[in-house]
């Protein structure tokens, strides 16, 4: 069959780069508030009933939200196999920590209210905090490391070798710039969680969430600006040298790459991408004011805008690179050399075009059915059936 040749390989690669963004943003928009609520839990809710109010705002939806994470993994595997292979084996122990946190979280949601003892519940509250805060932080750290370049190289057989011993591999990820990115990510997702609680929780939980959220919004703004300045002045970017074949086989070793002055140099070539960081800042500022003004629905939308802007700005700045190598730039993974085959990208696109609208439709329906605030009365009246 030659059906897949209806769309050029090059175009399919760009589409899948966009879809990678859609998945990451979809994950941050939905599961992001689950993580934010988890991280906020010890601070916004003091009594058991208050904690249950906070937990039950996400109770019926976290499971669907988490699928964005799973689907992200699956889609990277299907559309960007080298990225899947290099990044997850390279960030091995960090991935283990993220997985542990993400396994802990569902169990905590489901099991917390199944026993009455205060110790049992306090234990799962901590699990929810870890399950929210730790991944939110690590995702940012990972993005920071990707911007810095990751110490791996590819052999002629395309085995990926990550440099460094056990400790260097894990603690080497925690450079100051990467940690700053981690702070931005955590602050942004906690703000998102606060915006969600402000909309969905009733009573003191919402009040405290707004207070904390406006602090983390400022932190996110400052951190994002700081990371931008750092990127402009202290971090080298990457660029292809010579002719770039955009529809060739996925083999990074056929390309030549050099380090350039700064990632931000691309803003001179394609100034329109500045819209992404602008949306990021505007969204964060509006979220801050929205939280202060108790504008519930609008604040959540602004927070989503902020996340959209911030994540897009990273992708657009790096384009066409996806995972640059700091020790062997020629091994860097990019849109033109790290995708699946023409045929697989096409099949996956067809599947996505069929199923994504259906997913969005039924997800929207579920949120509509669940519309409305969760109150302390709801929790006490349905004590046996809610989380």
């Amino acid at each position: 069959m030659i059906l897949h040749e209806l769309i050029d390989f090059e175009v399919l690669r760009v589409i899948w780069w966009l879809l990678l963004g859609v998945l990451l943003i979809g994950f941050a928009l939905t599961d992001g508030f689950d993580m934010g609520v988890g991280a906020l839990l010890p601070f916004v809710a003091r009594t058991d009933t208050e904690r249950r109010v906070a937990i039950n705002t996400v109770g019926p939806v976290w499971e669907g939200n988490q699928v964005w994470f799973i689907l992200g993994g699956g889609a990277i595997f299907a559309a960007w196999p080298p990225l899947y292979a290099v990044s997850f084996s390279g960030f091995y122990l960090a991935m283990f920590v993220v997985l542990t946190a993400f396994i802990l979280r569902p169990v905590a949601f489901k099991y917390r209210s199944k026993r009455d003892s205060a110790g049992w519940r306090a234990m799962w509250d901590w699990a929810l905090f870890i399950g929210g805060f730790v991944p939110a932080l690590i995702f940012g750290v990972a993005v920071g490391n990707v911007l810095l370049g990751v110490p791996f190289y590819l052999t002629d057989d395309l085995h990926s070798i990550y440099q460094g011993g056990l400790f260097a591999k894990f603690f080497g990820l925690l450079s100051p710039f990467a940690l700053l990115c981690g702070v931005v990510s955590a602050a942004m997702l906690i703000t998102h969680g606060a915006a969600w609680l402000s909309l969905k929780a009733a009573g003191p939980v919402a009040v405290r969430a707004r207070a904390i959220g406006s602090v983390t919004a400022i932190l996110a703004i400052l951190g994002y600006a700081g990371a931008g300045l750092w990127l402009a002045n202290g971090i080298e970017g990457y660029a292809f040298v010579g002719e770039v074949v955009r529809d060739g086989p996925s083999n990074p070793l056929t390309f030549t790459v050099e380090r350039t002055g700064s990632w931000l140099a691309v803003y001179a070539d394609r100034p329109w991408i500045a819209i992404a960081p602008v949306l990021g800042f505007v969204g964060l500022v509006l979220t801050f004011f929205g939280l202060r003004a108790e504008r519930e629905v609008a604040t959540l939308l602004w927070s989503k805008l902020a996340i959209f802007g911030v994540i897009s700005s990273v992708g657009l700045t790096m384009f066409p690179f996806i995972l640059p190598s700091s020790i062997d730039p020629a091994s860097s993974l990019a849109v033109w050399n790290a995708s699946s085959s023409h045929k697989t990208l096409f099949i996956m696109l067809v599947s996505t075009v069929i199923f994504m609208p259906i997913i969005l439709a039924y997800t929207a329906w579920v949120y509509r059915v669940l519309w409305g605030k969760v109150t302390a009365d709801d929790v006490t009246a349905n004590s046996d059936s809610v989380y």
Partner: protein, 537 residues
């Protein structure tokens, strides 16, 4: 055995996958059983069926969450521990995993929240649809995962691309309609249905023994026995279909399962009992059924089922052919676009055997330098360890027939003897609860251990598939996962037992009252969903 990175990665994969599969079969089956019960409720409006639905759904939920949680590891572990595998076959293997997320997992995970929290926000029929969508989503999940796994057993619709140094998809249709994947899917979901039926039967039997919730227990037994009988029959019939498929695609696995060291004259006998001896290459104390293996394997009396000796000789030939492919590949790789067309043609003629050349990598850095002895050793490596396969398979099959017998008995007693179950039968049902899990894990063991030394049969050896990690790193995560999972398991079983002891959380009178209020709410004007959502129960 020395524990290097390959052994540790395998151990971790086996541990996390088998642990994941403690929860999956119950999810597959119980989701359908709950949906059947709710269907009866919606059709009859009898409160007892709602009570049953909610009770079994509670147990379903406790189990479901661990299936989801441990599934996360599975989705990412290929990249973490099997990065060369991921690079080498991601173009094919990744697609079903991603489609699983799009088509199935999103469906079940999005609706499972409403299934538990939507009783007051949805009409009866709406809620029933939600419950069915969860069940359908779970089962579709299994379909795509088994398409992925089926491809590892029988890698069709793909070819090696020397330019990108990996396998690439040539026909999605072949991957999708891979006969191994199809028969594995039906066999696996049926096994899940049997698991859930035995579980429901056992728990209900316990209630009858205690004289508690007898209405709920009797009706649950009726559902479990009918559903379980159909499923237990289908597991065995379709398991036989799997065996037939294996004759075509994985002859070595089949020969090892049977301990068939030497090719027998057709029709080959089936060994019911024996002690396989890998060193002497024979099975001691054999008890055989004549003709049986030939019938299962070939569905004929004349075709031959090849034995291990014959397959080993074939493997040696394929290694030699693979070496030609490997040599040509090295030239093509060095020249890339400028490669000699003759070299490319040579490669393509032998590329189906390329994977066999990789079997030499543990012995020699450049397979082309291999000696004749090394080639013989590599060919011998294609023989899996026979006795674990031989016995795991027999335990699984034996249990399969036991389940048929049990289900026939309970179906008969429920349908024609007025549900008067003798106490010993009820005790037996309780003690049988763990057995389907044992059968299911044995089945996976046969499927995966029997595929060794390959991750993708005939294409990529296991030893070559791993990530370049240090053994310490894998040891850290292996210990971490083992401890973490053990704690989760203890917590889960504790909660299941607590909720089984507690029984249904509303009695019949409360359920009737709820039903009355629910009807009033539904008929009370066309209010938005938010307003219907007043706390009840």
């Amino acid at each position: 055995m020395e524990f290097g990175i390959v052994e540790l990665s395998r151990l971790q994969f086996a541990m996390t996958a088998m642990f994941h599969f403690l929860f999956v079969p119950l999810t597959l089956g119980l989701s359908i059983i709950v949906a059947i019960m709710e269907t009866v409720y919606v059709m009859t409006r009898r409160p007892i069926w709602r009570q049953m639905t909610k009770f079994w759904a509670t147990l379903f939920g406790i189990n479901f969450v661990l299936g989801v949680a441990t599934g996360i590891t599975m989705e990412f572990q290929f990249g973490m521990n099997w990065s060369y595998y991921s690079h080498y076959v991601g173009d094919i293997f990744g697609a079903p995993l991603a489609i699983e997320g799009l088509m199935a997992f999103f469906l079940e995970a999005t609706f499972v929240g409403l299934m538990f929290f939507g009783w007051d926000k949805l009409s009866r029929v709406q809620h029933l649809v939600v419950t069915w969508l969860v069940a359908i989503g779970s089962n579709l999940s299994a379909l795509w995962i088994l398409i992925a796994n089926g491809w590892m057993q029988n890698p069709v619709g793909a070819a090696f691309n020397p330019m990108s140094m990996r396998m690439e998809m040539t026909s999605f249709y072949e991957v999708l309609f891979n006969h191994v994947a199809q028969s594995k899917f039906v066999h696996t979901v049926s096994a899940g249905y049997v698991t859930a039926s035995v579980f429901v039967l056992g728990v209900s039997a316990w209630y009858l023994l205690k004289g508690r919730h007898t209405d709920l227990a009797r009706r649950s037994i009726a559902v479990a026995a009918s559903f379980g009988l159909a499923s237990a029959l289908s597991v065995v019939v379709l398991g036989d279909e799997s065996g037939y498929s294996a004759t075509h695609s994985q002859k070595m696995k089949l020969a090892a399962m049977e301990g068939m060291w030497h090719t027998e004259d057709a029709p080959a006998p089936f060994t019911v009992f024996g002690i396989p001896d890998q060193g002497a290459r024979e099975t001691h104390f054999k008890v055989e059924i004549p003709w049986m293996m030939g019938l299962i394997g070939t569905r004929s009396l004349t075709r031959e089922v090849p034995g291990i000796d014959k397959l080993e000789a074939q493997a040696e030939e394929r290694i030699r052919s693979g070496l030609i492919a490997y040599d040509a590949l090295m030239h093509v790789r060095a020249e890339r676009e400028n490669a000699d067309p003759a070299e490319i043609a040579t490669f393509e003629a032998h590329s189906a055997d390329l994977g066999f050349a990789f079997l030499l990598l543990p012995y020699v850095e450049d397979p082309r330098q291999a000696t004749a002895e090394q080639i013989t050793m590599a060919a011998e490596d294609t023989i899996p360890h026979v006795w674990p396969l031989f016995w795991a398979f027999r335990i699984m099959v034996g249990l399969g027939f036991l389940f048929i017998g049990t289900m026939v008995y309970f179906f008969f007693m429920a349908s024609f003897r007025g549900m008067r179950f003798p106490r010993p039968a009820l005790h037996l049902a309780v003690w049988m609860i763990p057995l389907p899990w044992i059968a299911a894990e044995m089945g996976w063991f046969v499927a995966e251990f029997g595929r060794q030394p390959w991750t993708v049969d005939g294409v990529l050896p296991t030893a070559m598939s791993v990530s370049h990690l240090s053994a310490t790193e894998v040891l850290v995560t292996l210990i971490g996962f083992t401890l973490f999972y053990s704690v989760l398991f203890v917590v889960e079983v504790g909660l299941l037992l607590k909720y089984i002891r507690k029984g249904p959380f509303m009695d019949v009178a409360e359920t009737v009252a709820w039903q009355h209020r629910h009807e009033q709410r539904l008929s009370g004007g066309r209010a938005g969903p938010g307003e219907i959502a007043t706390p009840a129960e």
